[in-house]
């Protein structure tokens, strides 16, 4: 029963963040999907007056975390290093509901190692957040370009392991505008939920500080007030965020440089069999330190990221609304083809870079130059990453007055699944913004302009795809 009612939901921004991260990577990529597993019990009455209960289980993906160096998390056969995994994910490990693997120009078939990793990740993360292993998902992504580089194709599929077989899980992209699924509480319309942490999030504290009286002030006025407060908060946080992201970018660049040097050494000395392993260890340790550092920075800056989400969100809302209409036609399709021309500039840039690098050495310069170019993008991506984590909070906090919408037939934590599906709520970053009510937020920062540039083509291409 529950099997047919298991699906993955993702917001448009989270999905585009995932694709964006994919396209940014030079080669293969892996990472984790953060979110929560939600269970709904829908009670309905049949003609015979029998009460029928249906259980629906949704995995809502709220954010993605990419893993810059997968070889530190698992070995060649795919045995995971739990210690390093914990170090890498830290607080977010409770929110991991799945993982993804991106490869260019391949079919969406899990490899030998993917299958092993899925199994281990499932048991590792499910024991941490208490959900069921069968609801842990693997997302396989692939992108390819046509020979004339005119069409960019993005493919994805979500898989879960049912007994021995990997079976596809349908994906639904939540839409801002659609209200039809409101009772299931997984679209943009927020629903009140009980949170494990009682600390108010950023958005709630904003609303409280503004002392809005929604009955007296008009909707527009209150929206503008919220927007202004958000803008102020953002502009305070941007410099810090920028600094930390630059630092992360620099560390990533250094790691890549180390890796390339090492690769060169490996290929040069493969016959001499020089013991490079020691130096590798050192490098790896350095990397681990660097990552921890960056992790600390990012976590400490999570507040700031929350706010930048605002900016991203408002820009994205329109585009996702459009793209959703497209996706909504086939919500049951487990693998959806989305042809997009997003980020063409970037992909072209990276592909030309690669094309210009015929031998070993150029990639090093290539990656450096790309890092330089990407610094601003990095900032943005990080914003998105963190900001997406808050989408759920956003929707929860807004809806305090809307209990009716999702009243009937909704129930959380049904007794049988009470423990297993107990929500792994965020403990960090308890701040958020109301994004829905803020429209056309225009920030005077350069970052915002970059974001807009990035989004516009998406909007256009989505619109054209709809025809």
């Amino acid at each position: 029963m529950a099997d047919s009612d298991f699906l993955i939901t993702i917001s448009g921004p989270a999905l585009s963040l995932l694709f964006y991260e994919n396209v940014r990577s030079t080669g293969d990529q892996m990472g984790f999907l953060l979110g929560e597993t939600v269970e709904f019990v829908i009670k309905s009455y049949s003609d015979l007056d029998n009460q029928v209960e249906t259980v629906k289980i949704y995995n809502n993906i709220e954010a993605v975390v990419t893993c810059p160096l997968p070889d530190s998390l698992h070995n060649s056969i795919g045995k995971i290093n739990k210690e390093k995994l914990k170090d890498f994910l830290r607080d977010t490990s409770k929110q991991v509901i799945g993982w993804f693997r991106f490869r260019r120009n391949v079919g969406l078939v899990p490899t030998f190692r993917d299958k092993l990793l899925h199994k281990q990740f499932a048991s590792h993360f499910c024991s941490e957040n208490g959900s069921k292993e069968e609801f842990f998902v693997t997302c396989l992504l692939s992108s390819s370009t046509s020979s004339e580089k005119g069409t960019y194709k993005f493919k994805h599929v979500f898989l879960r392991q049912n007994r021995e077989i990997f079976e596809p899980v349908p994906l639904r992209i939540s839409n801002l505008g659609s209200n039809s699924f409101a009772q299931e509480g997984l679209d943009y319309k927020p629903t009140p939920t009980k949170k494990s942490s009682d600390a108010p999030d950023v958005f709630t504290s904003f609303i409280e500080s503004l002392n809005l009286d929604l009955t007296k002030t008009s909707a527009v006025e209150s929206a503008i007030a919220i927007q202004k407060a958000a803008e102020e908060h953002l502009s305070q946080l941007i410099p810090d965020l920028c600094k930390s992201d630059l630092e992360v970018a620099e560390l990533e660049r250094q790691i890549k440089e180390f890796m390339l040097n090492k690769k060169k050494k490996v290929s040069d000395n493969s016959k001499k069999k020089i013991q490079i392993t020691q130096s590798c260890e050192i490098e790896k340790d350095e990397f681990a330190d660097g990552r921890q550092k960056s992790g600390k920075i990012s976590l400490s800056k999570s507040e700031s990221s929350d706010d930048t989400y605002q900016e991203f969100r408002t820009n994205k809302d329109h585009s996702t609304a459009i793209s959703q209409t497209m996706a909504a036609h086939k919500p049951k399709n487990s693998a959806t083809y989305i042809d997009k021309n997003i980020d063409q500039n970037k992909t072209r840039r990276s592909s030309t870079n690669i094309a210009n690098s015929p031998s070993q050495e150029p990639p090093s310069t290539n990656s450096i130059s790309e890092m330089k170019v990407n610094i601003t993008e990095n900032v943005l991506s990080r914003n998105r990453r963190f900001s997406n984590m808050d989408s759920e909070i956003v929707k929860e906090s807004i809806c305090k007055g809307e209990t009716n919408v999702c009243g009937v037939g909704r129930g959380r934590g049904k007794s049988t699944h009470d423990n297993s599906l107990k929500k792994a709520r965020r403990t960090s970053g308890p701040e958020s913004f109301e994004a829905n009510s803020v429209q056309n937020a225009s920030f005077q920062t350069s970052y915002n302009q970059v974001t807009k540039k990035k989004v516009d083509p998406v909007r256009k291409s989505d619109a054209t795809d709809n025809h």
Binding site: T26, G27, D28, L69, P70, D71, N75, S76, I77, G78, K79, R103, R104, N105, V106, G107, V109, T111, F112, R113, D114, K115, L116, K119, Q120, S144, S146, S147, Q161, R163, E164, I165, F166, M259, K262, K263, V266, S267, N269, S270, K271, K273, I274, I276, C280, S350, S351, I354, A355, S357, P358, Q360
Partner: protein, 380 residues
């Protein structure tokens, strides 16, 4: 699994190249002693140097297509795989697998043999997996157990086809230990000589049995092609082991007749050299399969090429005239096969040759006329 649209690459990423070369240059892999071949290559990051390969691996006279994924971004990381049989290693415990495929668990990119070892280990896992699948087919399972407990075979590869569904066909590729030491004049390749029996079971209750005998290439030259072999019947009530004994006898007979035939051919060529040592052009010293000499009649010269079939002396030598003056087409001399000449396999070699010669001087005149006629026709 690799995208077909992707451009076919020719360069291999430098750190993978020694590993792949090692795999491709290994000439003995599995029972059938064939080589692994590379089907296609592509790059994970859209570059010009390939790090993804599609290999076809010989197993039970089937080609297993395995996709191998390296990651140029992580040269330390070992390869990843997609097997064409997706039920293989679908649900494995990582620790159990680490003991079965140690070369992958302790991947060392500096070891040239690393990839080859991983493939070997995986292939042996695959074999175990197929044997495990065979457990469900009690009849064949029994045959298999009898087979491996007998000393008659060296190695067996089992495969159940089609993959990942209810099997309709089971193949046993059995490497037979046959004494080939009596075969003389073998080249250095003789070490990899192998006699294989492929037994295919299909049909209801596995009642339809098709045996096929295969020789390795160099052995095929000595024993003749396997196409014309008339294998003994395989009634479905006899066991595989019994049949293998039959086959071994059959192969031994084949080897014996090959040895005898070689001796006869050698005698024939020896006699030929004695009689016509002045006009010999060339002859096969190893397998004694042919001899050619030059003949003259009325100042007309002609090359006589005598081919000795493997069935000699029961099969008559094939005699062919080749003109030294005329071409039938560019670079091909005019030639004619002489079909009728006196021959009896009971004759001693020197008598055979004398009789042949007698007849040939008559034939040369006809050949002379024919070749001139043919040539003038071509020119006119």
């Amino acid at each position: 699994m690799l995208n077909q649209q992707c451009a076919v690459l020719t360069a291999i990423d430098s750190y993978i190249e020694p590993l792949i070369n090692r795999v491709l240059s290994t000439d003995k892999f599995g029972v059938c002693c064939e080589t692994i071949k590379i089907d296609s290559m592509s790059s994970s990051c859209g570059g010009v140097q390939g790090d993804r390969f599609k290999l076809s691996i010989p197993y039970a006279r089937q080609n297993l297509t395995w996709n191998i994924f390296f990651d140029s971004q992580c040269p330390e990381m070992g390869p990843d795989f997609i097997f064409n049989d997706n039920t293989f290693l679908a649900d494995m415990d990582v620790d159990a697998l680490s003991t079965k495929v140690p070369s992958l668990a302790n991947w060392n990119p500096n070891d040239e043999n690393a990839l080859l070892n991983v493939l070997k280990e995986l292939l042996s896992c695959y074999k175990q997996y197929q044997i495990q699948l065979l457990q469900k087919q009690t009849r064949l399972q029994l045959q298999y157990n009898m087979l491996i407990s007998s000393a008659e075979v060296e190695d067996v590869e089992v495969i159940l086809l089609p993959f990942s569904s209810k099997p309709t066909e089971v193949r046993f590729l059995i490497s037979l230990s046959v004494d080939l030491s009596q075969l003389q004049n073998r080249t250095s390749k003789s070490e990899s000589d192998i006699v294989m029996l492929l037994v295919t079971y299909c049909g209801v209750d596995w009642n339809r049995i098709t045996p096929q005998l295969h020789f390795s290439k160099s052995l095929e030259e000595t024993l003749g092609g396997t196409g014309e072999l008339r294998l003994p019947q395989f009634p479905s009530d006899t066991s595989l082991v019994q049949y293998i004994l039959k086959i071994k006898k059959y192969v031994a007979g084949k080897v014996n007749s090959a040895i005898q035939s070689l001796e006869k051919r050698r005698d024939y060529i020896a006699a030929f050299l004695c009689i016509n040592h002045l006009c010999i052009l060339e002859y096969d010293t190893i397998n004694c399969k042919y001899v050619s000499c030059i003949l003259c009649e009325d100042d007309f010269y002609v090359v006589m090429h005598i081919q000795l079939p493997l069935g000699f002396p029961r099969e008559a030598p094939i005699v062919e005239f080749k003109s030294v003056y005329h071409m039938s087409s560019e670079h091909v001399p005019y030639s004619e096969k002489i079909k009728h000449y006196p021959y009896d396999f009971k004759w001693p070699p020197h008598y055979m040759i004398r009789e042949l010669y007698k007849a040939m001087y008559q034939q040369i005149k006809i050949f002379k006329l024919n070749s001139i006629k043919n040539c003038s026709e071509n020119h006119s």
